[in-house]
Amino acid sequence: MALLEVRNLDVRFAVRGGDLTALRGISFSLDKGERLGLVGESGAGKSVAAFSVLNLIAKPGYIAGGQILFEGRDLAAMSERELRKIRGNRIAMIFQDPMMTLNPVLTIGTQMVEAILAHRKISKKEARAIALDRLQKVQIPSPEKRLDQYPHELSGGMRQRVIIAIALLLDPEIIIADEPTTALDVTIQAEIMDLLLNLCEQENVALMLITHDLGVVSQVTQRMLVMYSGRIIEQGPTREIINDAQHPYTQGLINALPQMGEPGARLFQIPGSMPSLKNVPSGCPFHPRCNFATEQCKHAMPEYVRSGNVDVACYEVANLIEQEKHMQEAES
C-alpha cells in the first residue's frame, strides 16, 4: 500500500456566480521515501493540490469529492482534531517565503520548542535538545546561538534552513515543499535543494516538491506529474518525461526553456496563456493552445493512456499508440 494515495480529488471554490473547479479528478500516490515533483505554471493548481493533501484549503474552497488516503485513512473525511495530530507531525510542510512562515516576534528556539510540545509530552529542555539536533542537521553555523535569535537576524537562505529544520522536528513521513527555493538566489537555491535531497534520503522521508523549475525537478525527484488548468495531464518517472515528454504541453514547456534553443535563435513558444478558472475550455483544457488539436479534443477530456511507464491524457498520444499497435499486429 502506498503511503499517500489521492483518488479522484475534486477541489472547488464557492464564489459568486457558481463554483470554480480548481482541481478535477486528481489521482496520484506517494510511496515511503519517494520524491515526487508537481510541475506546472501559475494557476495550474499545483499549490492547491499540495494544500488539499493536509486539508488546508481555506474557505471559500472545499474538497468536493475524492479521497486522500494517508496510511489507509481518509484525510478528507477526518475531523479537525484528528487532522491536527497529522499536520506538522506526520506530514510537514515547507512554504515558499521563509519570512512569512516564521513568526517575527518569537525566537527560533521558542517556535521550534512550541512545535514539538504541541505533539509530544516531553520537557522543554528535551524539546530544546531536539531543536538543536535538527539545526545541526541542516548545517546552520553556530546552531546554539540561532535558537535565541529572531528570524530577522538571519539571511534568506538561513531562514529556509530553519524552516527545513522545523519540518524535520517530529520525524515526519512526508514533507510537502511548495516552491521552497523560488524566493532565493541561484547559488543558495542549489545548496538548499541539495540539503533537502540529502536529508530526505538519510531519514527516508517522502517528498512532494511543488515547483515550476523543470531543472530542479529533474535533479531532485524520481517521479513527476505535470498539471494544467486543474488536471494532471502527464504523470510518470521524471527521467522518462524529461527525456521524452508525450503530452504536447509538457513538450512545449521543455522546449520553451532557453537552454533548449540554439543561442540567438527564436525559442519554441506555446501560443496564448493558461486559461483562468472562470472559463476553462471544454474538453481538453489545453486544446486552444495545442498544435495537434482536433474536433475530438474540444468535446471531452481524454482518458489516460500508458506510454512506456508514463500516463498521459491526450488523444493525439492515444492515437499514436493505437497506430503503433496496428503496425505491430500487421507485421506479425
Binding site: 529533474s218 521543455i254 520553451a256 525559442l267 513558444q269
Partner: protein, 336 residues
C-alpha cells in the same frame, strides 16, 4: 573598434543609511560621535555597450545590477563616475538638455503589474510618451504610431480602450514593451523583464525582444539573474558581485570557459535538465552585506582560492588570453 553607444566609467553609488544629522550623532564614552553608514551598491563599474549588441548583466540579489540599470537611465544619480551616450556625457545634463536622450533610451521594468498605470487605458499609456516627445504630431499620426507598435508586439490594436488589469501578465509585459518602442528608441534597458512571468510566457516575451532588436536595430542592456536566458540572448555578459564586475566576456567564451571562481560557482548552480542530482560548486558562507564591504577582493571570504593578496588588494579587470576580462588575482597569477 567603433566608439561605444553607452559607456559607464568608474560608476559608484552609495545609498545613505544614517538619516538626518541628529540621528547620526550619538553619545558614547563621554563624547559625541557622528556615525555615517551607507549601502555601497556599486563600487567602481566600467562597462561599454556597443551598438547593436545585447550586454547582459547578471548576478545575485544585492549585487547592484538593477542600480546600474537605473543609474544609466538617470533614474538615480551616481555618487561618482560618468555615463556617456554616443560620446556625450549625460549624467550631469539638466532637464531640458537631457530630453533628446530620454527618447533614445527607454526602460522595461520587471513587474508589469506595477509598471502600468492602473487608471490609464492602454491607448493613454502608449499615447503619453509619443505626445511628450513629439508635441508637433497630429492626432492621426499618433494613432497610426500606436496602431503600429501594438501590432508589432502582438496586441490587438482594437484593445486600446481596455485597462491594464484586463490583461494577463504576458500581455502586460508586451504592452510595457510597446510603450518603450513607441518613441523609436535606440537603446533599451530591460531590468529582469521576464522574471515575473511563467515559463511558456517567458519564451514568448524573449522572442518578442529578439524580434524587436532585429527590426528596430536596438541595443540592449539586459539585467537578469537567469543565466540560461543570458546564454540564449546575450552577446556579451558582465557578471557582478557586491557592486563590482568580476568577469566580462563574450557569451560563448563565458559559458564555455568561466574563469572567475564566482562565475564558475554561479554557472554550476543552474539546475540542468540532464542532471540526476544537484551538482554544484559549494561556496562558503553567504554574500556579505554591502554596508561593510570586505577589504581587497569582495569575493575573498567565500573563495576557495583566496590568499593574503586577495584579502588586501582589490583586483582589477584584466584581459586574459581567452578573450575574457577577469578581476581575480588567482587568474592573473596563473593559480587558477
Amino acid at each position: 573598434m567603433t566608439s561605444p553607444l553607452v559607456s559607464i566609467r568608474g560608476l559608484e553609488k552609495r545609498f545613505d543609511l544614517s538619516g538626518s544629522l541628529l540621528e547620526q550623532i550619538s553619545f558614547e564614552g563621554g563624547r559625541f560621535r557622528r556615525k555615517q553608514e551607507a549601502v555601497h551598491a556599486i563600487n567602481g563599474v566600467d562597462l561599454e555597450v556597443q551598438k547593436g549588441e545585447a550586454l547582459c548583466v547578471v548576478g545575485e540579489s544585492g549585487c547592484g545590477k538593477s542600480t546600474v540599470a537605473r543609474t544609466v537611465m538617470g533614474l538615480i544619480s551616481p555618487s561618482a563616475g560618468e555615463i556617456h551616450y554616443d560620446g556625450q556625457r549625460i549624467d550631469n545634463l539638466d532637464g531640458k538638455a537631457v530630453l533628446p536622450y530620454r527618447r533614445k533610451m527607454q526602460m522595461i521594468f520587471q513587474n508589469p503589474y506595477a509598471s502600468l498605470n492602473p487608471r490609464m487605458t492602454i491607448q493613454q499609456t502608449l499615447e503619453e510618451p509619443i505626445c511628450f516627445h513629439h508635441p508637433d504630431w497630429s492626432q492621426s499620426q499618433v494613432r497610426d504610431k500606436i496602431h503600429e507598435v501594438m501590432h508589432s508586439v502582438g496586441i490587438d490594436p482594437d484593445w486600446g480602450a481596455r485597462f491594464g488589469h484586463e490583461f494577463s501578465g504576458g500581455q502586460r509585459q508586451r504592452i510595457a514593451i510597446a510603450r518603450a518602442l513607441a518613441v523609436d528608441p535606440e537603446f533599451i534597458v530591460a531590468d529582469e523583464p521576464i522574471s515575473a512571468l511563467d515559463v511558456s510566457i517567458q519564451a514568448q516575451v524573449l522572442n518578442l525582444l529578439m524580434d524587436a532588436q532585429e527590426t528596430c536595430n536596438l541595443t540592449y542592456l539586459f539585467i537578469t539573474h537567469d543565466l540560461a536566458v543570458v546564454e540564449h540572448f546575450g552577446t556579451r555578459v558582465a557578471v557582478m558581485y557586491l557592486g563590482r564586475v568580476c568577469e566580462l566576456a563574450d557569451t560563448k567564451t563565458l559559458f564555455a570557459t568561466p574563469r572567475h571562481p564566482y562565475t564558475q560557482a554561479l554557472l554550476s548552480a543552474i539546475p540542468k535538465l540532464e542532471d540526476d542530482r544537484p551538482n554544484h560548486i559549494r561556496l562558503k558562507g553567504e554574500v556579505p552585506t554591502p554596508v561593510n564591504l570586505p577589504s581587497g577582493c569582495v569575493f575573498h571570504g567565500r573563495c576557495p582560492y583566496a590568499n593574503d593578496r586577495c584579502r588586501q588588494e582589490v583586483p582589477q579587470l584584466i584581459a586574459t588570453d581567452g578573450g575574457a576580462q577577469v578581476a581575480c588575482h588567482a587568474v592573473e597569477e596563473g593559480r587558477l
